[in-house]
Symmetry: C2
Subunit: 311 residues, 2 copies
């Protein structure tokens, strides 16, 4: 039986909480907040059999993704990620190697994204459950929200979409070698790019739930509508337009701005459409010979489709 | 089927995130951090069938406790709780009244403890799972840790112990009227008292896992041992010494200090023993005619005992 005490000791050994006045192992962590900055806070859940399955997702990928998803959210505010709390509940009979892998993945993500683990909580549960809460910082008034898109703004996407969804279908069909699998298991958020783009952005969000849902958040919050061109959407090689529109988990940035260059820091930035007036908050998807209203299906729809296809 | 979107809308309506530059509904929240203070961070998990059962714990109690447990941790640092993120995963077929009750309880706790909900995450899962991450603040260098207890310090406990454990046994035996039940369901952390006591404390922790475990943390972290007197331990009326020693969830404060008054802000403060030398980090429990080593059994042991008793 895997004890919580052993888990806490293991987490504590792994994450030294560099720079914290009080780190892991007390009632709470105590950290600096940079003078003149605002604290930026978010959290992200990963639930077994909802977000991942033990069969398809190695434990280090779960650890990596739990950090990466939050880094992506902080980056999509134009902010800098800094510290996090990891809460993890696992079955008492879970193999210790799962925990070790999970911590390996989380530690690797913290290293790559320059984030420190300063605390958290642990518990037993019937299914694996991970919640990471992250704190970052941003200059006052400089956070980029979802509600600032203006009529006439261009709509931009960094990198390409559909890779994570393609990777998931590959995983579920038993493959372990397709390059898209890496995008599903070890996503690399665009937080540094977000920080660069932020001064020019009127609205920004990360593509975590899928373009159809995430652009939906921008138009709803901003009180506008959108018109995007199917041919302009950058699809990962091998991923179809459905994966790009609804797949999610790509952790690319979706940005509205008067203008953005076609490349920032070596990453392509594609203009996929523009913000239009309309308080119906619709997304019009324009094809070569047709126009349809894009429904916000997102990754849940897509994933259940993938499951059916692989069953 | 209860959708996550509906849950997020409900949470957002309920918690206005007063004072946050960016509140619920964006990638992350943006909040002030007071100049010259340090941020204090913690999180606390509540897992169905580990920490609570739907049969015995009404949903508003789960919501209340998810906030209270974190307020208690922040208070045990001598810090002031301020803002939190609520992550909640629930079964898709969960009755909406459970969610409403949960949010009622969380909102009531936020009102009473003066904490604002600024964000979080939601998901579906097979069992109910709640993780609250909280941020507070404290003056630099003023946080009271677990590792400062010195040989000769007195060991003090606020209020009385065993009430939450007694309440649990009452609940599990079908009672709904015993006054101790309120201490189990709607605990009132001593965060304001912790702030008052902090300047005189060498170490401080909240009694969440049980006196035997929590005092164990202090002696281990401080590199000392402890000697406590059975007769001095303040037991809630009706709660036996076992409940007081191991029950946990009382959210009282356990403090080491050269000296503390017997009452602070109307709350009794009992001296139950003293810190002694000894790197074995033992706790000696002194009775009228015997001395035993107190094993760190804590609430898990106690609770499974209570379950057996009520089965």
């Amino acid at each position: 039986m895997y004890s919580e005490d052993a888990l806490v000791r293991k987490i504590r050994r792994r994450f030294s909480a560099a720079g914290a006045e009080v780190g892991i192992g007390d009632d709470a962590a105590v950290v600096d907040s940079p003078d003149g900055f605002r604290a930026v806070l978010c959290s992200d859940l990963l639930v077994e059999n909802t977000h991942f399955e033990r069969r398809t997702h190695p434990s280090d990928a779960v650890g990596f993704k739990s950090i990466a998803a939050n880094v992506s959210d902080i980056g999509a505010m134009g902010a800098v990620p800094a510290r996090c709390l990891i809460s993890v509940a696992v079955p008492a009979d879970l193999d210790e190697s799962w925990i070790d892998g999970f911590l390996d993945g989380a530690a690797e993500a913290c290293r790559v994204f320059e984030v420190a683990v300063v605390g958290g909580d642990s518990s037993s549960s019937e299914r694996i459950f991970v919640d990471v809460a992250m704190m970052g910082h941003v200059e006052p008034g400089r956070a980029v929200r979802r509600n600032g898109a203006r009529v006439g703004d261009g709509i931009y996407v960094t990198g390409c979409l559909g890779a994570a969804a393609l990777g998931l279908t590959r995983l579920e069909s038993g493959s372990r070698t397709d390059p898209a699998i890496r995008r599903q298991l070890y996503p690399e958020p665009r937080h540094r790019l977000g920080r660069r783009i932020a001064p020019r952005a009127t609205a920004m969000i990360d593509v975590s739930d899928g373009l159809s849902i995430d652009l939906g958040h921008i138009v709803t919050e901003s009180g506008v509508s959108a018109r995007i061109e199917r041919e302009s959407i950058p699809c990962h090689p091998g991923a179809g337009i459905e994966m790009a529109l609804h797949g999610g988990e790509d952790y690319e940035l979706l940005v509205t701005a008067a203008d953005l260059p076609s490349e920032v820091d070596g990453v392509s930035v594609a203009r996929i459409g523009e913000i239009i007036a309309g308080d119906s908050n619709r997304i019009v998807l324009v094809g070569e010979s047709d126009e349809v209203i894009l429904e916000p299906l997102g990754w849940r729809h897509f994933r259940s489709g993938a499951r059916r296809a692989s069953a």
